[in-house]
């Protein structure tokens, strides 16, 4: 297969959640639904739809958008954790997502054993992870706790060990979700240094963030997403400006409606800023 000129090639990607098949599904519920023969369409929530973009080697893309826009779902899809329901994703090179901040630990075994276990889950070769173990432990800096069950760790220690494992290998394609400020001041400084290292070594980067400044700083292109679709694509400054403008307009519109309603003597409505598919953590 010839090497693709693109690190990531996403064509007409769609990912949907079956709203009637969430974690609390029981056979009884499904049967009732099947017997009821409801419309098929309202079963699905499209978290992403008709997403098409390409990222060339050497590029760094920022993804902006309000809560519920589908940014995290997109990262999960690029990481291969969610499979496309429509369209395709082609990724050339080793992908690593820094989503792994400690929630996947096995509580009853030690930190050291967890390094081996999670390394094996990530598909890193045994010899590689064995050689990296010392540096992972050093970076996590949790002292003698490394040989105690993870159950005994503080959440900060878990996060540090998780970060240390997730960043131990420099990926070709780096997927970053913004939640990277973990631990104390000292650790945060070190972790930011390490991310900068990974960023310089990666051949392509996808950064999801609410921090508009970091988009301008790190990225050469930005996408604005809303309700599972790409609204705008362009240079970071342009996209950020587009986004700011949109937020301003939306606020103005809401204020107007509010004023109109107040004038008419109606009570203020309860509004939710964005929403998420059921069963998904923020």
């Amino acid at each position: 297969m010839p090497a693709s000129p693109y690190a990531i090639d996403v064509q007409d990607l769609g990912i949907r959640y079956n709203l009637h098949l969430t974690r609390r599904t029981t056979i009884k519920g499904s049967l009732a639904e099947w017997v009821g023969r409801r419309q098929r369409d309202d079963h699905f929530f499209w978290a992403l739809r008709h997403i098409t973009f390409r990222i060339a080697h050497g590029e760094s893309i920022g993804i902006l958008g309000p809560n519920g826009a589908g940014k995290s779902t997109l990262l999960l899809a690029l990481a291969g954790i969610l499979a496309p329901d429509e369209g395709s994703i082609r990724v050339t090179g080793r992908v690593s997502s820094l989503l792994t901040l400690g929630a996947g630990f096995e509580m009853e075994i030690s930190g050291r054993e967890n390094i081996a276990l999670i390394g094996a889950f990530m598909g890193i070769r045994h010899r590689v992870i064995r050689d990296l173990t010392a540096s992972i432990i050093e970076f996590a800096d949790i002292g003698p706790f490394i040989d105690a069950p993870v159950r005994t760790y503080s959440s900060g220690m878990r996060a540090r060990l998780g970060f240390s494992i997730a960043t131990a290998i420099a990926p070709d394609i780096l997927l970053l979700d913004e939640v990277l400020g973990t631990g104390d001041e000292e650790f945060r400084a070190r972790s930011q240094q390490r991310i900068r290292d990974l960023v310089t070594r990666a051949r392509a980067i996808v950064l999801v963030t609410h921090d508009l400044n970091s988009v301008s700083e790190y990225c050469n292109r930005a996408l604005l997403m809303e309700k599972g679709q790409v609204l705008h694509e362009g240079p970071p400054e342009e996209t950020v400006e587009f986004y700011r403008d949109r937020v301003r307009k939306r606020k103005a519109r809401l204020a107007e409606e509010e004023a109109a309603r107040a004038a008419a003597g109606l009570p203020a409505p309860v509004t939710l800023d964005g929403f998420r598919a059921p069963g998904r953590p923020g």
């Binding site: 079956n18 969430t22 056979i27 997502s97 989503l99 096995e106 009853e108 889950f121």
Partner: protein, 267 residues
């Protein structure tokens, strides 16, 4: 993208073969977890089956003493492999749902999870065999070279357990009813298997058909043949169970691989 049945099954088998190290770590974790924080730690692997054997032994010498000679051995030879089946199946069924966090964060072949559960169960069974060995100190006359066939019978049982475990693990991810239902089904299944009675006791009755269709009739009879009667296992029965299990295993892997991509969405 839909792959054909054969290719999907082959991919599942490949998943297991290429992830040997992961399987090894998972099995180790499973075994450690069962007795974490106990003073005697791994010694419990030997003590647990020994105690359950002792309880059965006392119970049956009091209750069945007259009907069945050497009743403790008669029972334990069948109850030990049954317990292996039951715990492995329950563990495998919940193995995917128990790792929801990880599945949402790392992409890996999920089929290793039920496979690891069934391997861990097998190791526990291996330790259980030591307490079976202890029983022969009491009944040395029951020792026979046919005992060496236990690994062969166990291998057939393992294929059957693995097949059901993979299937249930996959379906349970979407329908949690499976794990609840399983508790009751295994209990009924136990009484529908010749564990605390012998097949001959029920030949010809209506219940005979149930026994004839139950793989554990052939498995438990074979264990009892080698461990208690000192005779050959039920070769024909074992071979039939093996063939059915292999077909079931292929089907289970196929189902699992088909629905695996949806796990991350609902966990």
């Amino acid at each position: 993208m839909r792959l054909g049945l054969v290719r999907l099954v082959m991919r599942g088998v490949l998943d297991l073969r290429t992830r040997g190290r992961l399987l090894q770590y998972l099995v180790g974790t499973d075994l450690k977890r069962t007795h974490a924080d106990t003073v005697m730690g791994q010694v419990w692997w030997l003590i647990d089956p020994f105690f359950s054997m002792a309880i059965y032994a006392i119970l049956v010498t009091v209750v069945f003493a007259k009907q069945i000679p050497d009743a403790p051995l008669f029972l334990f030879a069948a109850i030990l492999p049954w317990q292996w089946f039951q715990t492995s199946l329950v563990d495998a069924t919940t193995s995917v749902t128990a790792r929801g966090n990880l599945i949402r964060q790392i992409q890996f072949p999920k089929i290793v999870l039920p496979a690891a559960s069934s391997i861990a169960g097998t190791i526990t069974f291996g330790f259980g065999l030591f307490s079976l060995a202890v029983l022969y100190l009491v009944y040395p006359g029951r020792l026979s070279p046919w005992l060496l066939m236990i690994p062969v019978i166990a291998a057939v049982q393992y294929v059957f357990t693995l097949a059901l475990g993979i299937l249930f693990a996959g379906v349970n991810t979407f329908y949690r009813d499976v794990q609840n239902l399983l508790r009751h089904v295994t209990r009924i299944w136990f009484y529908a298997s010749p564990a605390i009675y012998s097949v001959t006791a029920l030949k010809g009755s209506v219940f005979g058909l149930v026994l004839a269709l139950n793989p554990f009739t052939y498995l438990l009879t074979s264990y009892r043949n080698v461990a208690y009667y000192g005779m050959a296992p039920d070769w024909v029965g074992l071979l039939s169970v093996l063939l059915v299990s292999l077909v079931l295993l292929a089907f289970s892997i196929w189902v699992f691989k088909r629905i695996e991509t949806g796990f991350a969405k609902i966990l």
